[in-house]
Protein backbone atom coordinates (compact mmCIF):
# COMPACT_ATOMS: atom_id res chain seq x y z
CA UNK A 1 0.00 0.00 0.00
CA UNK A 2 2.99 2.35 0.16
CA UNK A 3 2.65 4.86 -2.65
CA UNK A 4 5.57 7.13 -3.58
CA UNK A 5 4.80 10.78 -2.73
CA UNK A 6 3.01 12.66 -5.49
CA UNK A 7 2.05 9.56 -7.44
CA UNK A 8 -1.61 8.72 -7.08
CA UNK A 9 -2.59 5.59 -8.97
CA UNK A 10 -6.12 5.98 -10.30
CA UNK A 11 -6.93 2.37 -9.47
CA UNK A 12 -6.43 2.77 -5.74
CA UNK A 13 -9.68 4.20 -4.43
CA UNK A 14 -8.55 4.64 -0.86
CA UNK A 15 -5.60 6.72 -2.00
CA UNK A 16 -8.00 9.01 -3.87
CA UNK A 17 -10.18 9.31 -0.81
CA UNK A 18 -7.16 10.26 1.27
CA UNK A 19 -6.15 12.83 -1.26
CA UNK A 20 -9.46 14.62 -1.02
CA UNK A 21 -9.37 14.77 2.75
CA UNK A 22 -5.77 15.59 3.56
CA UNK A 23 -3.68 18.62 2.70
CA UNK A 24 -1.35 17.94 -0.23
CA UNK A 25 1.60 19.53 1.62
CA UNK A 26 1.35 17.38 4.70
CA UNK A 27 1.51 14.09 2.81
CA UNK A 28 5.21 13.49 2.11
CA UNK A 29 6.43 13.79 5.74
CA UNK A 30 3.56 11.68 7.08
CA UNK A 31 4.27 8.94 4.55
CA UNK A 32 7.92 9.08 5.44
CA UNK A 33 7.12 8.88 9.14
CA UNK A 34 4.86 5.89 8.62
CA UNK A 35 7.47 4.13 6.50
CA UNK A 36 10.09 4.69 9.19
CA UNK A 37 7.85 3.37 11.98
CA UNK A 38 6.83 0.31 9.94
CA UNK A 39 10.42 -0.31 8.87
CA UNK A 40 11.64 -0.03 12.46
CA UNK A 41 8.94 -2.44 13.60
CA UNK A 42 9.87 -4.95 10.88
CA UNK A 43 13.51 -4.78 11.89
CA UNK A 44 12.68 -5.20 15.58
CA UNK A 45 10.40 -8.21 14.99
CA UNK A 46 12.85 -9.94 12.65
CA UNK A 47 15.79 -9.24 14.93
CA UNK A 48 13.96 -10.62 17.98
CA UNK A 49 12.83 -13.77 16.19
CA UNK A 50 16.21 -14.40 14.60
CA UNK A 51 18.35 -13.62 17.66
CA UNK A 52 18.82 -17.30 18.67
CA UNK A 53 20.14 -18.07 15.18
CA UNK A 54 22.37 -15.00 15.06
CA UNK A 55 23.82 -15.70 18.50
CA UNK A 56 24.56 -19.31 17.56
CA UNK A 57 26.22 -18.13 14.36
CA UNK A 58 28.50 -15.96 16.52
CA UNK A 59 29.13 -18.76 19.03
CA UNK A 60 30.31 -21.24 16.43
CA UNK A 61 32.68 -18.79 14.74
CA UNK A 62 34.43 -17.87 18.01
CA UNK A 63 37.66 -19.54 19.06
CA UNK A 64 36.70 -22.52 21.22
CA UNK A 65 38.19 -21.15 24.46
CA UNK A 66 35.92 -18.07 24.49
CA UNK A 67 32.86 -19.52 22.74
CA UNK A 68 30.89 -20.24 25.91
CA UNK A 69 32.54 -18.02 28.56
CA UNK A 70 30.55 -15.80 30.88
CA UNK A 71 30.43 -12.80 30.50
CA UNK A 72 29.91 -13.31 26.76
CA UNK A 73 32.52 -11.98 24.35
CA UNK A 74 31.29 -9.76 21.52
CA UNK A 75 34.56 -9.05 19.72
CA UNK A 76 36.75 -11.83 18.42
CA UNK A 77 38.63 -13.14 15.40
CA UNK A 78 36.12 -15.21 13.42
CA UNK A 79 37.26 -18.76 12.76
CA UNK A 80 35.75 -21.84 11.14
CA UNK A 81 37.69 -24.30 13.28
CA UNK A 82 34.50 -25.75 14.76
CA UNK A 83 33.27 -26.73 11.29
CA UNK A 84 36.60 -28.27 10.34
CA UNK A 85 36.62 -30.15 13.64
CA UNK A 86 33.08 -31.36 13.11
CA UNK A 87 33.94 -32.68 9.68
CA UNK A 88 37.19 -34.34 10.72
CA UNK A 89 36.46 -35.83 14.12
CA UNK A 90 32.83 -37.01 13.80
CA UNK A 91 30.68 -39.03 11.41
CA UNK A 92 28.75 -35.85 10.59
CA UNK A 93 28.90 -36.48 6.85
CA UNK A 94 27.06 -39.78 7.12
CA UNK A 95 24.50 -38.33 9.55
CA UNK A 96 23.78 -35.58 7.04
CA UNK A 97 23.39 -38.08 4.22
CA UNK A 98 21.05 -40.18 6.39
CA UNK A 99 18.91 -37.14 7.18
CA UNK A 100 18.58 -36.21 3.51
CA UNK A 101 17.89 -39.78 2.38
CA UNK A 102 15.14 -40.18 4.98
CA UNK A 103 13.57 -36.82 4.05
CA UNK A 104 13.55 -37.56 0.31
CA UNK A 105 12.32 -41.15 0.53
CA UNK A 106 9.55 -40.37 3.00
CA UNK A 107 8.36 -37.32 1.03
CA UNK A 108 8.17 -39.24 -2.25
CA UNK A 109 6.28 -42.18 -0.77
CA UNK A 110 3.97 -39.98 1.30
CA UNK A 111 2.86 -38.20 -1.88
CA UNK A 112 2.74 -41.35 -3.99
CA UNK A 113 0.17 -42.98 -1.72
CA UNK A 114 -1.32 -39.79 -0.28
CA UNK A 115 -2.40 -38.04 -3.49
CA UNK A 116 -4.69 -40.82 -4.81
CA UNK A 117 -6.11 -41.41 -1.33
CA UNK A 118 -6.88 -37.73 -0.82
CA UNK A 119 -8.55 -37.56 -4.22
CA UNK A 120 -10.68 -40.59 -3.41
CA UNK A 121 -11.69 -39.08 -0.06
CA UNK A 122 -12.74 -35.83 -1.72
CA UNK A 123 -14.95 -37.61 -4.26
CA UNK A 124 -16.42 -40.64 -2.52
CA UNK A 125 -19.51 -39.84 -0.47
CA UNK A 126 -20.63 -41.88 2.49
CA UNK A 127 -19.68 -42.87 5.97
CA UNK A 128 -16.34 -44.41 5.09
CA UNK A 129 -14.90 -41.07 3.95
CA UNK A 130 -16.16 -39.38 7.11
CA UNK A 131 -14.72 -42.14 9.25
CA UNK A 132 -11.35 -41.95 7.51
CA UNK A 133 -11.17 -38.17 7.90
CA UNK A 134 -11.97 -38.32 11.61
CA UNK A 135 -9.45 -41.17 11.96
CA UNK A 136 -6.86 -39.02 10.16
CA UNK A 137 -7.49 -36.19 12.62
CA UNK A 138 -7.05 -38.52 15.59
CA UNK A 139 -3.97 -40.17 14.08
CA UNK A 140 -2.47 -36.75 13.43
CA UNK A 141 -2.78 -36.09 17.15
CA UNK A 142 -1.46 -39.47 18.29
CA UNK A 143 1.46 -39.30 20.74
CA UNK A 144 4.54 -40.51 18.84
CA UNK A 145 5.62 -42.94 21.55
CA UNK A 146 2.35 -44.88 21.27
CA UNK A 147 3.41 -46.00 17.79
CA UNK A 148 7.18 -45.58 17.87
CA UNK A 149 7.91 -47.83 20.86
CA UNK A 150 6.08 -50.79 19.26
CA UNK A 151 7.87 -49.94 15.99
CA UNK A 152 11.16 -50.21 17.88
CA UNK A 153 10.16 -53.66 19.09
CA UNK A 154 8.91 -54.77 15.66
CA UNK A 155 11.93 -53.37 13.78
CA UNK A 156 14.26 -55.29 16.08
CA UNK A 157 12.30 -58.47 15.46
CA UNK A 158 12.39 -57.87 11.67
CA UNK A 159 16.07 -56.96 11.78
CA UNK A 160 15.55 -53.53 10.21
CA UNK A 161 16.30 -51.55 13.41
CA UNK A 162 18.80 -48.74 12.79
CA UNK A 163 18.22 -48.50 9.03
CA UNK A 164 17.07 -45.48 7.02
CA UNK A 165 14.31 -47.68 5.58
CA UNK A 166 12.78 -48.15 9.02
CA UNK A 167 12.67 -44.41 9.84
CA UNK A 168 11.41 -43.52 6.36
CA UNK A 169 8.58 -46.04 6.61
CA UNK A 170 7.70 -44.81 10.10
CA UNK A 171 7.62 -41.20 8.92
CA UNK A 172 5.50 -41.96 5.85
CA UNK A 173 2.91 -43.50 8.16
CA UNK A 174 3.14 -40.84 10.86
CA UNK A 175 2.78 -37.99 8.36
CA UNK A 176 0.17 -39.69 6.18
CA UNK A 177 -2.87 -38.32 8.09
CA UNK A 178 -1.68 -34.73 7.71
CA UNK A 179 -0.87 -35.08 4.01
CA UNK A 180 -4.18 -36.67 3.02
CA UNK A 181 -6.02 -34.10 5.10
CA UNK A 182 -4.22 -31.19 3.44
CA UNK A 183 -4.49 -32.68 -0.06
CA UNK A 184 -8.16 -33.60 0.35
CA UNK A 185 -8.98 -29.94 0.99
CA UNK A 186 -7.16 -28.95 -2.20
CA UNK A 187 -9.04 -31.56 -4.24
CA UNK A 188 -12.36 -30.50 -2.71
CA UNK A 189 -11.81 -27.07 -4.30
CA UNK A 190 -11.78 -28.56 -7.81
CA UNK A 191 -15.33 -28.93 -9.13
CA UNK A 192 -16.47 -32.48 -9.72
CA UNK A 193 -17.91 -31.58 -13.14
CA UNK A 194 -14.33 -31.43 -14.37
CA UNK A 195 -13.84 -35.13 -13.55
CA UNK A 196 -17.06 -36.02 -15.27
CA UNK A 197 -16.22 -34.01 -18.40
CA UNK A 198 -12.83 -35.67 -18.72
CA UNK A 199 -14.34 -39.11 -18.21
CA UNK A 200 -17.08 -38.44 -20.77
CA UNK A 201 -14.28 -37.73 -23.21
CA UNK A 202 -13.13 -41.30 -22.70
CA UNK A 203 -10.58 -41.08 -19.91
CA UNK A 204 -10.62 -43.76 -17.24
CA UNK A 205 -10.62 -42.57 -13.63
CA UNK A 206 -6.86 -43.18 -13.35
CA UNK A 207 -5.97 -41.48 -16.63
CA UNK A 208 -8.08 -38.51 -15.59
CA UNK A 209 -6.31 -38.33 -12.22
CA UNK A 210 -2.92 -38.39 -13.91
CA UNK A 211 -3.61 -36.07 -16.82
CA UNK A 212 -6.13 -33.60 -15.42
CA UNK A 213 -6.13 -33.56 -11.63
CA UNK A 214 -2.45 -33.82 -10.80
CA UNK A 215 -1.38 -31.00 -13.14
CA UNK A 216 -4.19 -28.84 -11.71
CA UNK A 217 -3.05 -29.69 -8.20
CA UNK A 218 0.54 -28.46 -8.75
CA UNK A 219 0.59 -25.89 -5.93
CA UNK A 220 -1.30 -28.22 -3.59
CA UNK A 221 1.05 -31.14 -4.12
CA UNK A 222 4.05 -28.84 -3.81
CA UNK A 223 2.69 -27.46 -0.51
CA UNK A 224 2.12 -30.95 0.86
CA UNK A 225 5.58 -32.01 -0.36
CA UNK A 226 7.21 -29.04 1.36
CA UNK A 227 5.53 -29.93 4.64
CA UNK A 228 6.45 -33.62 4.38
CA UNK A 229 10.08 -32.83 3.64
CA UNK A 230 10.22 -30.36 6.50
CA UNK A 231 8.66 -32.76 9.01
CA UNK A 232 11.06 -35.54 8.04
CA UNK A 233 14.04 -33.19 8.14
CA UNK A 234 13.11 -31.97 11.64
CA UNK A 235 12.16 -35.30 13.18
CA UNK A 236 13.98 -36.04 16.38
CA UNK A 237 11.88 -38.41 18.50
CA UNK A 238 11.29 -41.11 15.86
CA UNK A 239 14.93 -41.11 14.83
CA UNK A 240 16.01 -41.20 18.47
CA UNK A 241 14.06 -44.39 19.11
CA UNK A 242 14.56 -46.17 15.78
CA UNK A 243 18.27 -45.51 15.21
CA UNK A 244 21.53 -46.25 16.93
CA UNK A 245 24.74 -45.39 15.06
CA UNK A 246 24.32 -46.49 11.43
CA UNK A 247 21.17 -44.58 10.54
CA UNK A 248 21.59 -41.73 13.04
CA UNK A 249 20.29 -38.38 11.78
CA UNK A 250 21.67 -34.91 12.45
CA UNK A 251 19.04 -33.87 15.06
CA UNK A 252 19.87 -36.98 17.13
CA UNK A 253 23.59 -36.31 16.74
CA UNK A 254 23.16 -32.73 17.98
CA UNK A 255 21.23 -33.87 21.04
CA UNK A 256 23.86 -36.45 21.98
CA UNK A 257 26.61 -33.81 21.80
CA UNK A 258 24.86 -31.51 24.28
CA UNK A 259 25.98 -33.09 27.54
CA UNK A 260 29.59 -33.22 26.38
CA UNK A 261 32.70 -31.06 26.77
CA UNK A 262 33.29 -27.68 25.12
CA UNK A 263 34.76 -28.68 21.74
CA UNK A 264 31.91 -31.15 21.21
CA UNK A 265 29.38 -28.57 22.27
CA UNK A 266 30.73 -26.15 19.70
CA UNK A 267 30.63 -28.93 17.11
CA UNK A 268 26.94 -29.34 17.90
CA UNK A 269 26.58 -25.62 17.22
CA UNK A 270 28.39 -25.97 13.91
CA UNK A 271 26.13 -28.90 12.99
CA UNK A 272 23.11 -26.76 13.93
CA UNK A 273 24.24 -23.99 11.60
CA UNK A 274 24.83 -26.45 8.75
CA UNK A 275 21.30 -27.75 9.25
CA UNK A 276 19.90 -24.21 9.55
CA UNK A 277 21.43 -22.49 6.51
CA UNK A 278 19.73 -24.67 3.86
CA UNK A 279 16.34 -24.46 5.62
CA UNK A 280 16.60 -20.66 5.63
CA UNK A 281 17.04 -20.73 1.85
CA UNK A 282 14.20 -23.21 1.82
CA UNK A 283 11.99 -20.82 3.85
CA UNK A 284 12.47 -18.08 1.28
CA UNK A 285 11.61 -20.32 -1.64
CA UNK A 286 8.76 -22.04 0.17
CA UNK A 287 6.93 -18.96 1.50
CA UNK A 288 5.60 -18.10 -1.97
CA UNK A 289 4.07 -21.52 -2.51
CA UNK A 290 2.93 -21.91 1.08
CA UNK A 291 0.88 -18.71 1.20
CA UNK A 292 -0.50 -19.25 -2.30
CA UNK A 293 -1.19 -22.92 -1.61
CA UNK A 294 -2.73 -22.41 1.81
CA UNK A 295 -4.95 -19.50 0.78
CA UNK A 296 -6.36 -21.36 -2.21
CA UNK A 297 -8.79 -22.96 0.17
CA UNK A 298 -6.96 -25.59 2.14
CA UNK A 299 -7.55 -24.02 5.53
CA UNK A 300 -11.26 -23.47 5.65
CA UNK A 301 -11.05 -24.89 9.20
Amino acid sequence: MTVPAGVIPSTDESAELNQVVSEPHSRPPRRLGRTLVVGGLVLLICWTLLSPVLWTAMTVTKPTNIAFVNPPQFFYEPTFDAFVNLWQTTQFYSYLVNTLVVAVISTVFALLIGVPAAYALSRYPGWISTLLLVAALVFRALPRFAVVLPMYDISRALNIYDTTIAISAALVAINQPFSIWLLRNFFAEIPEQLDEAAMLDGCTRFQMLRRVMIPLMGPGILTAGIFMFLFAFQEYLTALVLTDVNARTVPVFIATQLGQTLPMLQQAGAASMILTLPVIAFAFIAQRYLVAGLSSGSVKG
Binding site: V38, Y124, T130, L237, V299
Partner: protein
Protein backbone atom coordinates in the same frame (compact mmCIF):
# COMPACT_ATOMS: atom_id res chain seq x y z
CA UNK B 1 -17.04 -42.95 -7.86
CA UNK B 2 -17.44 -46.68 -7.63
CA UNK B 3 -16.46 -48.62 -4.55
CA UNK B 4 -13.77 -50.53 -6.44
CA UNK B 5 -12.12 -47.33 -7.64
CA UNK B 6 -12.20 -45.94 -4.12
CA UNK B 7 -10.55 -49.08 -2.78
CA UNK B 8 -7.79 -48.96 -5.39
CA UNK B 9 -7.06 -45.26 -4.89
CA UNK B 10 -7.26 -45.11 -1.12
CA UNK B 11 -6.10 -48.69 -0.50
CA UNK B 12 -2.32 -48.20 -0.29
CA UNK B 13 -2.67 -45.29 2.10
CA UNK B 14 -5.16 -47.15 4.29
CA UNK B 15 -2.90 -50.23 4.31
CA UNK B 16 0.13 -48.18 5.38
CA UNK B 17 -1.83 -46.50 8.16
CA UNK B 18 -3.32 -49.80 9.31
CA UNK B 19 0.02 -51.59 9.33
CA UNK B 20 2.22 -48.85 10.71
CA UNK B 21 -0.15 -46.89 12.95
CA UNK B 22 -3.10 -49.07 13.92
CA UNK B 23 -1.10 -52.24 14.54
CA UNK B 24 1.53 -50.51 16.74
CA UNK B 25 -1.30 -48.75 18.55
CA UNK B 26 -2.90 -52.11 19.24
CA UNK B 27 0.44 -53.31 20.59
CA UNK B 28 0.60 -50.33 22.93
CA UNK B 29 -2.88 -51.06 24.30
CA UNK B 30 -1.93 -54.72 24.72
CA UNK B 31 1.32 -53.81 26.52
CA UNK B 32 -0.54 -51.46 28.82
CA UNK B 33 -2.19 -54.54 30.33
CA UNK B 34 1.02 -56.51 30.64
CA UNK B 35 4.22 -56.80 32.59
CA UNK B 36 6.52 -56.77 29.58
CA UNK B 37 9.93 -55.93 28.14
CA UNK B 38 11.13 -55.38 24.58
CA UNK B 39 11.59 -58.54 22.56
CA UNK B 40 9.90 -60.87 25.04
CA UNK B 41 6.28 -61.92 25.47
CA UNK B 42 4.51 -60.16 28.32
CA UNK B 43 2.53 -61.45 31.26
CA UNK B 44 -1.08 -60.27 31.60
CA UNK B 45 -1.53 -58.18 34.76
CA UNK B 46 -4.90 -56.54 34.20
CA UNK B 47 -5.12 -52.88 35.21
CA UNK B 48 -2.03 -52.91 37.44
CA UNK B 49 -0.12 -50.50 35.20
CA UNK B 50 -2.99 -48.02 35.26
CA UNK B 51 -3.24 -48.30 39.04
CA UNK B 52 0.49 -47.63 39.30
CA UNK B 53 0.24 -44.65 36.92
CA UNK B 54 -2.54 -43.03 38.94
CA UNK B 55 -0.70 -43.50 42.22
CA UNK B 56 2.46 -41.83 40.88
CA UNK B 57 2.43 -38.10 41.74
CA UNK B 58 4.84 -37.54 38.83
CA UNK B 59 2.03 -38.27 36.38
CA UNK B 60 -0.30 -35.72 38.01
CA UNK B 61 2.49 -33.12 37.90
CA UNK B 62 3.24 -33.91 34.26
CA UNK B 63 -0.45 -33.60 33.30
CA UNK B 64 -0.89 -30.24 35.08
CA UNK B 65 2.35 -28.92 33.57
CA UNK B 66 1.50 -30.09 30.04
CA UNK B 67 -2.13 -28.92 29.99
CA UNK B 68 -1.29 -25.48 31.43
CA UNK B 69 1.52 -25.08 28.91
CA UNK B 70 -0.82 -26.09 26.08
CA UNK B 71 -3.58 -23.64 26.98
CA UNK B 72 -1.17 -20.76 27.54
CA UNK B 73 0.81 -21.31 24.33
CA UNK B 74 -2.37 -21.77 22.26
CA UNK B 75 -3.87 -18.50 23.52
CA UNK B 76 -0.65 -16.61 22.80
CA UNK B 77 -0.29 -18.16 19.34
CA UNK B 78 -3.82 -17.19 18.26
CA UNK B 79 -3.58 -13.60 19.54
CA UNK B 80 0.03 -12.77 18.62
CA UNK B 81 -0.23 -14.78 15.39
CA UNK B 82 -3.21 -12.67 14.39
CA UNK B 83 -1.47 -9.37 15.20
CA UNK B 84 1.64 -10.43 13.32
CA UNK B 85 -0.37 -11.65 10.31
CA UNK B 86 -2.35 -8.40 10.16
CA UNK B 87 0.91 -6.46 10.32
CA UNK B 88 2.63 -8.52 7.62
CA UNK B 89 -0.49 -8.33 5.46
CA UNK B 90 -0.29 -4.51 5.51
CA UNK B 91 3.29 -4.51 4.18
CA UNK B 92 4.02 -3.62 0.59
CA UNK B 93 6.80 -4.87 -1.59
CA UNK B 94 8.89 -6.04 1.35
CA UNK B 95 6.28 -8.67 2.26
CA UNK B 96 7.91 -11.77 0.68
CA UNK B 97 11.28 -11.03 2.28
CA UNK B 98 9.81 -10.35 5.73
CA UNK B 99 7.73 -13.52 5.42
CA UNK B 100 10.81 -15.55 4.48
CA UNK B 101 12.71 -14.24 7.52
CA UNK B 102 9.78 -14.80 9.87
CA UNK B 103 9.41 -18.41 8.71
CA UNK B 104 12.94 -19.29 9.81
CA UNK B 105 12.07 -20.31 13.42
CA UNK B 106 9.42 -22.68 12.06
CA UNK B 107 11.67 -24.52 9.58
CA UNK B 108 14.55 -25.01 12.01
CA UNK B 109 14.35 -28.47 13.62
CA UNK B 110 12.84 -28.10 17.12
CA UNK B 111 15.77 -29.71 18.85
CA UNK B 112 18.14 -27.29 17.11
CA UNK B 113 15.98 -24.26 17.91
CA UNK B 114 15.80 -25.29 21.56
CA UNK B 115 19.57 -25.76 21.67
CA UNK B 116 20.01 -22.25 20.25
CA UNK B 117 17.61 -20.94 22.93
CA UNK B 118 19.56 -22.63 25.71
CA UNK B 119 22.76 -20.93 24.56
CA UNK B 120 21.03 -17.57 24.32
CA UNK B 121 19.78 -17.84 27.91
CA UNK B 122 22.00 -20.16 29.96
CA UNK B 123 24.56 -18.15 31.92
CA UNK B 124 26.87 -21.18 32.11
CA UNK B 125 27.28 -20.97 28.35
CA UNK B 126 27.63 -17.17 28.31
CA UNK B 127 23.96 -16.55 27.48
CA UNK B 128 23.69 -12.98 26.28
CA UNK B 129 20.07 -12.43 27.39
CA UNK B 130 20.83 -13.38 30.98
CA UNK B 131 23.94 -11.21 30.83
CA UNK B 132 21.89 -8.20 29.63
CA UNK B 133 19.23 -8.74 32.33
CA UNK B 134 21.94 -8.98 34.98
CA UNK B 135 23.58 -5.77 33.75
CA UNK B 136 20.28 -3.91 33.89
CA UNK B 137 18.67 -5.25 37.06
CA UNK B 138 21.51 -6.92 38.94
CA UNK B 139 19.57 -10.20 39.12
CA UNK B 140 20.95 -13.33 37.57
CA UNK B 141 18.01 -15.42 36.37
CA UNK B 142 18.66 -19.16 36.66
CA UNK B 143 16.80 -20.30 33.54
CA UNK B 144 17.86 -23.91 33.74
CA UNK B 145 17.64 -24.64 37.46
CA UNK B 146 14.75 -22.53 38.83
CA UNK B 147 11.29 -23.92 38.20
CA UNK B 148 9.45 -20.82 37.02
CA UNK B 149 12.16 -19.22 34.88
CA UNK B 150 12.61 -22.63 33.28
CA UNK B 151 8.87 -22.83 32.55
CA UNK B 152 8.94 -19.37 30.97
CA UNK B 153 11.93 -20.38 28.87
CA UNK B 154 10.17 -23.52 27.62
CA UNK B 155 6.98 -21.61 26.78
CA UNK B 156 8.96 -18.89 24.98
CA UNK B 157 10.79 -21.47 22.90
CA UNK B 158 7.61 -23.28 21.85
CA UNK B 159 5.87 -20.01 21.00
CA UNK B 160 8.93 -18.93 19.03
CA UNK B 161 8.98 -22.11 16.96
CA UNK B 162 5.22 -22.23 16.28
CA UNK B 163 4.41 -18.55 15.82
CA UNK B 164 5.46 -18.44 12.13
CA UNK B 165 3.08 -21.29 11.32
CA UNK B 166 0.19 -19.60 13.14
CA UNK B 167 0.98 -16.36 11.33
CA UNK B 168 1.19 -18.09 7.96
CA UNK B 169 -2.18 -19.83 8.34
CA UNK B 170 -3.89 -16.65 9.59
CA UNK B 171 -2.27 -14.65 6.79
CA UNK B 172 -3.71 -17.10 4.26
CA UNK B 173 -7.08 -16.60 5.94
CA UNK B 174 -6.79 -12.80 5.86
CA UNK B 175 -6.20 -12.89 2.13
CA UNK B 176 -9.54 -14.62 1.74
CA UNK B 177 -11.49 -11.81 3.49
CA UNK B 178 -13.52 -10.09 0.77
CA UNK B 179 -12.47 -6.57 -0.16
CA UNK B 180 -16.11 -5.44 -0.42
CA UNK B 181 -16.81 -6.16 3.25
CA UNK B 182 -13.73 -4.20 4.27
CA UNK B 183 -14.74 -1.33 2.00
CA UNK B 184 -18.26 -1.37 3.45
CA UNK B 185 -16.88 -1.24 7.01
CA UNK B 186 -14.73 1.71 6.04
CA UNK B 187 -17.68 3.54 4.47
CA UNK B 188 -19.66 3.00 7.66
CA UNK B 189 -16.87 4.77 9.51
CA UNK B 190 -15.61 1.80 11.51
CA UNK B 191 -12.26 2.41 13.19
CA UNK B 192 -9.41 0.01 12.34
CA UNK B 193 -9.69 -1.74 15.73
CA UNK B 194 -13.44 -2.08 15.33
CA UNK B 195 -13.01 -3.45 11.78
CA UNK B 196 -10.64 -6.11 13.07
CA UNK B 197 -12.80 -7.16 16.01
CA UNK B 198 -16.25 -7.11 14.40
CA UNK B 199 -15.54 -7.80 10.74
CA UNK B 200 -12.27 -9.62 10.11
CA UNK B 201 -12.03 -11.86 13.19
CA UNK B 202 -15.56 -13.31 12.80
CA UNK B 203 -15.02 -13.99 9.09
CA UNK B 204 -11.82 -15.98 9.70
CA UNK B 205 -13.14 -17.82 12.76
CA UNK B 206 -12.54 -21.16 11.05
CA UNK B 207 -8.91 -20.35 10.41
CA UNK B 208 -8.33 -19.27 14.01
CA UNK B 209 -9.95 -22.53 15.13
CA UNK B 210 -7.57 -24.43 12.87
CA UNK B 211 -4.57 -22.70 14.45
CA UNK B 212 -5.88 -23.57 17.92
CA UNK B 213 -6.40 -27.19 16.83
CA UNK B 214 -2.86 -27.64 15.50
CA UNK B 215 -1.41 -25.85 18.51
CA UNK B 216 -3.29 -28.05 21.02
CA UNK B 217 -2.25 -31.21 19.16
CA UNK B 218 1.40 -30.26 19.06
CA UNK B 219 1.94 -28.68 22.47
CA UNK B 220 0.24 -31.52 24.37
CA UNK B 221 2.91 -33.76 22.86
CA UNK B 222 5.87 -31.49 23.72
CA UNK B 223 9.07 -33.51 23.90
CA UNK B 224 11.94 -32.19 21.76
CA UNK B 225 12.42 -28.74 23.37
CA UNK B 226 12.71 -30.19 26.87
CA UNK B 227 15.80 -32.22 26.00
CA UNK B 228 18.13 -29.21 25.65
CA UNK B 229 16.12 -26.71 27.70
CA UNK B 230 15.32 -28.68 30.82
CA UNK B 231 17.95 -31.31 31.63
CA UNK B 232 16.60 -31.34 35.21
CA UNK B 233 12.94 -31.45 34.18
CA UNK B 234 12.06 -34.19 36.68
CA UNK B 235 13.49 -32.38 39.72
CA UNK B 236 11.96 -29.04 38.67
CA UNK B 237 8.50 -30.49 38.04
CA UNK B 238 8.76 -29.47 34.38
CA UNK B 239 8.36 -32.92 32.95
CA UNK B 240 5.89 -33.13 30.05
CA UNK B 241 3.74 -36.24 29.66
CA UNK B 242 5.78 -37.35 26.64
CA UNK B 243 9.05 -36.90 28.49
CA UNK B 244 7.61 -38.90 31.39
CA UNK B 245 6.75 -41.76 29.02
CA UNK B 246 10.26 -41.63 27.59
CA UNK B 247 11.88 -41.63 31.01
CA UNK B 248 9.76 -44.54 32.19
CA UNK B 249 9.78 -46.74 29.10
CA UNK B 250 12.87 -46.07 27.02
CA UNK B 251 15.66 -43.97 28.52
CA UNK B 252 18.73 -46.07 29.40
CA UNK B 253 16.89 -49.19 28.32
CA UNK B 254 14.02 -48.15 30.61
CA UNK B 255 12.36 -51.26 31.89
CA UNK B 256 8.78 -50.29 32.57
CA UNK B 257 7.26 -50.71 29.13
CA UNK B 258 3.90 -51.70 30.58
CA UNK B 259 3.62 -48.52 32.65
CA UNK B 260 4.82 -46.39 29.72
CA UNK B 261 2.20 -47.93 27.47
CA UNK B 262 -0.54 -47.30 30.04
CA UNK B 263 0.44 -43.62 30.16
CA UNK B 264 0.43 -43.56 26.35
CA UNK B 265 -3.17 -44.79 26.38
CA UNK B 266 -4.14 -42.22 29.03
CA UNK B 267 -2.49 -39.46 26.95
CA UNK B 268 -4.50 -40.52 23.90
CA UNK B 269 -7.69 -40.25 25.97
CA UNK B 270 -6.66 -36.77 27.16
CA UNK B 271 -6.00 -35.68 23.58
CA UNK B 272 -9.39 -36.97 22.45
CA UNK B 273 -11.08 -35.01 25.25
CA UNK B 274 -9.20 -31.82 24.27
CA UNK B 275 -10.01 -32.31 20.58
CA UNK B 276 -13.62 -33.40 21.08
CA UNK B 277 -15.16 -30.10 19.89
CA UNK B 278 -13.09 -30.24 16.71
CA UNK B 279 -13.85 -33.90 16.01
CA UNK B 280 -17.57 -33.25 16.38
CA UNK B 281 -17.39 -30.24 14.08
CA UNK B 282 -15.50 -32.20 11.43
CA UNK B 283 -17.91 -35.12 11.53
CA UNK B 284 -20.88 -32.77 11.25
CA UNK B 285 -19.36 -30.89 8.33
CA UNK B 286 -18.44 -34.09 6.51
CA UNK B 287 -21.94 -35.50 6.98
CA UNK B 288 -23.54 -32.32 5.61
CA UNK B 289 -21.63 -32.47 2.35
Amino acid sequence: MRRREFAMLAGPSILVMAGLLLLPLYRTIQWSLQDVDYGSPGKFVGLDNYRQAFSDPRLADAVVFTVTLTLLVTAVLVVVGYLLAAFVNSLGRSKPYVLGLLLVPYVIPHIVGATMFSWLFNANYGGVVTYAIEKMTGIQVLWMTDTWPNRILIALNIIWSMLPFAMLIILAGLQGVSAEILEAAKMDGASPVRTHLSVIVPSIRGVLGFVALISIMDVVRTFDPLVPLSPQAVQLGNESIMLYIYNVAFRDGGQDLGLGSAINVLLILLIIVLLYPFIRGLAKEARMR
